[in-house]
């Protein structure tokens, strides 16, 4: 029960980091007696708006820079503490039992052919889901967007897109490499070149008005090799 702990950090983390952050929280508590992490996982946008409305969060881990910028503009984060913790990549996946040959994702490649006559491409909604936004940018840069934009199945979040492919409802999907890595029901059939979309960064920062000192301690921990190892285990790209 949190009441007894000396310090209890409330960590608002993007839902896509759920497993990594859960493990890291346990690790952090084990290494630092008297300190605890209580995570709250939801979409980056929801969390950002909650912080804007005065949520008692101490640390915010966003799945994209836009919502971190949103809070920075409103002075709701300790800007000095902000850094990009993780990187991710967009991959093209197909159901594990799919017979589809690997696709070389290069300028001018045609996704439509791979989708068949009535298949759809499962994506996080490119209007607002970060994975979808990155995917759209990449497809635009590769000149393939026009061919597929009417063949999308835009989902509420990237996890839903993954499910759609897992179930075979969509023959292809665009998800994070981290999502693809953890699901045994899909396989990666193509990886997007790094330069086809803006870097997929997971910025983290202490929340203004929170327990800044304790937050700094935790943020420091996130940079340690043991924390990195956890992130890498779940397929994240940890760069400085």
């Amino acid at each position: 029960d949190g009441a007894g702990a000396e310090t209890d950090l409330l960590l608002f983390a993007a839902a896509s980091t759920t497993n990594a952050i859960t493990d890291i929280g346990a690790l952090y508590a084990a290494r630092n007696p008297g300190r605890r992490i209580t995570p709250s996982f939801a979409s980056s946008s929801t969390l950002a708006k909650q912080i804007e409305s005065g949520a008692p969060a101490d640390v915010y881990l966003s799945a994209n820079r836009k919502w971190m910028d949103f809070l920075a503009d409103k002075d709701r984060i300790d800007k000095a503490s902000r850094f990009d913790l993780l990187r991710n990549r967009i991959v093209l996946i197909a159901p594990a039992e799919s017979t589809l040959a690997p696709i070389s994702v290069a300028p001018g490649f045609s996704m439509a052919a791979a989708l068949g006559t009535d298949g759809r491409l499962a994506v996080g909604d490119p209007d607002h889901v970060p994975a979808g936004i990155y995917g759209r940018k990449a497809l635009e840069n590769l000149g393939s967007w026009d061919g597929v934009q009417d063949r999308l199945a835009p989902m509420k979040d990237v996890r839903a897109a993954l499910v759609l492919v897992e179930r075979g409802e969509a023959p292809l999907g665009l998800v994070y490499a981290t999502d693809a890595a953890i699901s045994s029901k899909v396989r990666v059939v193509g990886t997007f070149p790094d330069d086809s979309h803006p870097p997929i960064a997971y910025p983290v920062a202490a929340v203004a008005g929170g327990k800044v000192a304790e937050a700094a301690h935790f943020l420091e921990f996130l940079r340690t090799p043991s924390a990195r190892a956890v992130f890498e285990k779940y397929g994240f790209d940890v760069r400085q």
């Binding site: 946008s45 836009k66 759809r120 499962a122 209007d127 607002h128 999308l152 509420k156 179930r167 409802e169």
Partner: protein
């Protein structure tokens, strides 16, 4: 006012919402009345189970229901596959699927309200109609059903409102495809997820409310007319 200058996308979402909700309610009404009747009038083993199943869409998060629908009614689903193969009916990624999702989510509300009013129908009146020569089916349609009107109106309005607002199951089951499955709540949700979407979101909010109000006023008028008929 700019409120009523809807973009093409918004207009499409509005139309789709009405269409989907209308179908969801219309198609589930007979089943709802049947279910209400079965639950109110029959006694059979497993009744509690059936009752519980009907309430599932309320108890589980909509996304979960959407997921279950996907698993069962998706093209690779147990039922969905059969539907596709034998009837050529595809529910995934089109408005029919959206209507189904809405109907499933609204079903418990419909059934409960209808059942409540059915339980209030004086069986003495049904008996009287029987002695006048009407068989059970005729009695149901000429006596029981008319006397259930208040509950049916309530059930329909609840179901319609719930369908209009249905989001989680819909987006999970049939995705958020503009013009095909993007109903008002899905469009609205999209707007709330982007930093500068607030104005648009507010507009769609108000629009939803207006539709609901219109539906409510209609239902009130219907109900009042019915009550007036009863009082003669």
């Amino acid at each position: 006012m700019t409120l009523f200058h809807l973009t093409a996308v918004e207009l499409a979402a509005l139309k789709l919402s009405l269409w989907v909700s209308g179908w969801a309610v219309a198609a589930s009404l007979p089943a709802g009345i049947l279910a209400a009747w079965v639950l109110a009038r029959l006694r059979f083993p497993g009744k509690n189970l059936l009752d519980g199943m009907l309430h599932l869409p309320l108890v589980l998060p909509p996304v979960v229901i959407g997921y279950l629908l996907l698993v069962m009614l998706g093209r690779n689903g147990i039922i969905g596959g059969a539907l596709d193969r034998y009837l050529g009916v595809v529910l995934a990624f089109n408005w029919k699927g959206a209507a189904l999702a809405a109907a499933v989510m609204a079903f418990p509300l419909l059934v409960r309200a209808v059942r409540l009013s059915l339980e209030g129908v004086d069986q003495g009146l049904e008996d009287a109609a029987r002695t006048l020569g009407a068989g059970p089916l005729r009695v149901f349609f000429t006596v029981t059903l008319p006397l259930m009107v208040p509950g049916i109106i309530t059930g329909v309005i609840l179901a319609f409102a719930r369908s209009l607002g249905e989001f989680g199951a819909t987006i999970t089951f049939v995705s958020n495809i503009r013009g095909q499955t993007q109903t008002l709540p899905l469009a609205l949700y999209t707007l709330t997820q982007v930093p500068d979407g607030e104005a648009g979101a507010m507009r769609l909010c108000i629009l939803s409310v207006l539709i609901a109000m219109a539906a409510l006023v209609c239902s009130e008028i219907l109900a009042r007319r019915f009550a007036a008929r009863m009082e003669g």
